[in-house]
């Protein structure tokens, strides 16, 4: 069927003006935040009510049209790069917060609600929605759920999946499926909402999502610990956890990142430090004071050269300034920033760092590493120029090897950025042939024509 005729059919569902098919518009939806080749869709469709998601999906299925749902397009694994000739379905028109329930501590939102705006609304009611991916100023709740996004507070408060209580979604035929509930406990049927988490748009199209809220912590304290080398810093991470203190945030910056950040911000960071840890504890006032002191003691005992405690709000702000500027500083250094998120058990961080060091030398690449040390979730970031074919080839080889090392340390391909197109070829290596087969069988049964974001995660059906 011609695109013009198809466009008309979609217009009947979403209304004229909500189907885009001009060349420039199509090209504007051909990429996301991953460093991968763009692919141009045939149509871009913008539903204005969640109910329209059903018939839109049904029409795609009828024509065997591949469809890719797009939130803010900030994912780093190519999850929203469309299938050539397929359609892109935008959720940014579905951005209503339907309910914030202060008595029962939950909220119901449409999938296109922007994470930070939601968190701010929740905070204005005196409650707390902790997942805070670095992209929260623009990322959507639908995208967060589909990628199981995590953030700086993951260590203590968990990631997006820990806050999904239930969800309505449309299956490949456009029928509405309901799962989970507004109750804290719910074992009615399969945990389909759980299945949707991290599914990257390959198993269903989310409509309304029920999220858990928590009371905010009463107090918090932040500090920066300066270490002579990566080794002592990562031993400290293990020691803090082993002492049964769970900071809300425990972030790591290696020497190369410290130097880039200092270059760019002139914030006065210790450029001769091997690594720094940025640590924040929160909870009740008394507990915070006690935990903070324990953390200082542990850091000192493990070999920290210095621990700087933030005494005022400004000092706390200054500490997090460094962390927030890690990516920007690296991004300014070279044209292309390949940000990976290989994750290892916490005790393996020293080994992982050693591995990264060897890889950087072997492939003659500039790699800066920062990340969520408390979760073992590191972001080795390769600085390069993807127009330089030869160099970029080395980058690809280095990335392969980074995963090899992470897997050999009993780690995982992705701590938070998802598999998408970028890492699907690695799936079998981390899991098993049977795991992949199981997933493929499930996908075939649920989505026989393979229209839901094909090729992502598990490759071609």
């Amino acid at each position: 069927m011609s695109n013009a005729k198809l466009a008309k059919d979609f217009e009947k569902i979403v209304g004229a003006g909500n189907v885009m098919h001009e060349e420039a518009d199509l090209h504007a939806y051909s990429y996301d935040s991953a460093v991968l080749d763009p692919q141009v869709p045939a149509l871009v469709i913008k539903p204005t009510t969640t109910e329209q998601l059903g018939p839109v999906t049904a029409l795609c299925n009828e024509h065997g049209l591949p469809m890719t749902v797009r939130g803010a397009g900030t994912n780093l694994s190519g999850g929203t790069i469309p299938h050539p000739g397929g359609v892109v379905v935008l959720t940014n028109g579905l951005n209503k917060i339907l309910e914030i329930n202060e008595e029962d501590l939950y909220a119901v939102v449409e999938p296109g609600v922007v994470t930070a705006q939601f968190a701010a609304q929740v905070a204005s009611k005196g409650l707390f929605y902790p997942p805070d991916p670095g992209s929260q100023a623009v990322s959507t709740i639908g995208g967060n759920v589909a990628e199981n996004a995590g953030g700086l507070r993951g260590l203590k408060y968990g990631v997006t999946k820990d806050y999904v209580m239930g969800m309505d979604f449309y299956d490949a035929h456009g029928d509405l499926i309901k799962s989970g509930s507004r109750t804290v406990k719910c074992v009615t049927g399969y945990n389909l909402a759980g299945l949707m988490v991290a599914s990257e748009g390959t198993l269903g199209v989310f409509s309304n999502i029920i999220l858990k809220l928590v009371p905010p912590p009463k107090a918090s304290k932040a500090m920066m610990a300066i270490f002579p080398n990566v080794q002592t810093a990562s031993e400290t991470v293990a020691a803090i956890i082993a002492n049964h203190i769970v900071p809300c945030t425990l972030e790591f910056l290696d020497n190369s990142v410290i130097r880039y950040v200092e270059d760019f911000t002139k914030a006065g960071l210790p450029t001769d430090a091997g690594a720094i840890l940025l640590i924040e504890v929160d909870g009740h006032q008394a507990e915070v004071i006690e935990d903070a002191q324990k953390v200082v003691d542990i850091c000192t005992k493990c070999g920290a050269k210095e621990v700087k405690m933030a005494e005022t709000a400004e000092e706390r702000e200054a500490l997090w300034f460094a962390r927030r500027n890690a990516l920007p500083s690296l991004a300014r250094a070279k044209p292309t920033t390949v940000l990976e998120d290989a994750t290892v058990p916490r005790s393996q961080i020293p080994a992982m760092m050693e591995g990264l060091d060897k890889i950087a030398k072997k492939y003659k690449l500039d790699i800066g590493t920062f990340g969520h040390a408390g979760d073992g979730n590191l972001h080795p970031t390769i600085l390069c120029d993807n127009r330089d074919k030869e160099e970029f080839h080395r980058v690809e080889e280095a990335v392969d090897e980074i995963f090899d090392v992470a897997l050999s340390l009993k780690g995982t391909l992705s701590g938070e950025h998802g598999i998408g197109m970028a890492k699907s070829k690695w799936m079998e290596k981390e899991t098993s042939k049977a795991t992949l087969e199981y997933s493929l069988k499930m996908k075939r049964a649920i989505d026989p024509k393979g229209i839901l974001n094909p090729t992502k995660i598990i490759g071609d059906v």
């Binding site: 885009m20 001009e22 060349e23 420039a24 518009d25 090209h27 504007a28 939806y29 051909s30 990429y31 996301d32 935040s33 460093v35 763009p38 913008k46 803010a72 397009g73 900030t74 935008l90 940014n92 028109g93 930070a116 992209s135 100023a137 623009v138 990516l327 920007p328 991004a331 300014r332 044209p335 292309t336 920033t337 120029d385 993807n386 127009r387």
Partner: protein
Amino acid sequence: MEDLKQLAQNLMELDDQMVACMKCGMCQAVCPVFAETMQEADVTRGKIALLEKLAHEMVKDADQVNDKLNRCLLCGSCAANCPSGVKIMDIFMKARVIVTQFKGLSATKKMIFKGLLTRPKLFNTLTEMSAKFQGPFAKIADQASGAASCAMLNPLLGERHFMPLAKKPFRKDYPQLDTPRGKSGLKVAFYPGCVVDKMFPNVGHAAIKILEHHGVGIFLPKGQACCGIPTLASGDQDTMVSLMKQNIKAFENGTFDYLVTPCATCTATLHETWPKMIDNEDPVFVEKVKDLAAKTMDINAFLVDIVGVKAPAEPKKGGKVVTYHDPCHLSKSLGVAAQPRTLLKLSDNVEFKEMNEANRCCGCGGSFNLYHYDLSKSIGERKAGNVRDAGADIAATGCPACMMQLGDMLSQTGGGVEVKHVLEIYADSL
């Protein structure tokens, strides 16, 4: 569109700058146009992607890309927040020049830019004549902001509540000035800018009063021309350069420490944009431009940072409530935000109150307002709402273009709020 290949090749000049965009999408959080349309082609990332694709000949329809490129206020909000430090404004300006070289200027723009702006005398005469004729037709729509509406001009101006041209332009009262340094020991060149000259002469008068009060000598030469930003935003770099030449000529015979302007856009243009547009000019001229650019300063910043006007220990209470809108070209391009607030807090008879999103673009964007009025209006209405929510009697700002937009928006949303330049308020309290 004549030769796509050539266009693509020229755009490749920008490739090194464009490749710095890592497509992180963080610009979606701050782009006022995107907030209205939620379309990827309207946000920075989308525009850069389209330019890249045009440069690499992956997109064929240059007109479509050009349309998207022009749906932009050039407010710089994205550049100020871009984690990669992409030189977004440079890319957009240069891309407009490159595309315009191929498409050519529209007949109207050619007439206005080449025929009018480069001939300040003719421009002045024409606007004076219009000022005389507009009287009988324009009726004041909102007494407070001074905005007018005019049924006869609707085909041209739509439903806008525009600022009428001043009966007597600033230039008539001050054709030129050259006063000695006073107690401050400082001397400045004064560049009012066209909008102050023709629409808001009071702002010019306020500036003179303030400078005299602080004992600052003033050099105000004849023959000043427009800063050229409207022409550059339309891709006409040539006219901008000829306007620069006229201005350089006007100022080259004076001695002064700084050049100050009450127009945020002029300040940013002289200080930042001029030095970037002179690659192919002769070295003597280049030196002069760089010298003048380095001396150019926003007048609020001059008063606080150089003259040393200090914030009061206790903010004043009582009087009319005044709030402040940050012009993009002051806060985002030049980082001037505290100084105008200092002056407001110092002023008698007003009480300063911060509004929400003070730093958000008002939606004017020069010719953006002409070609995309609906978008401009919805962005402006949000600003008007914030002004009203602050309970302000006066909306103050530091850019005459913002004053026009604020006047239109506040007038159309019920009126009753005065629109003033910070200098007018500060001058009144002296």
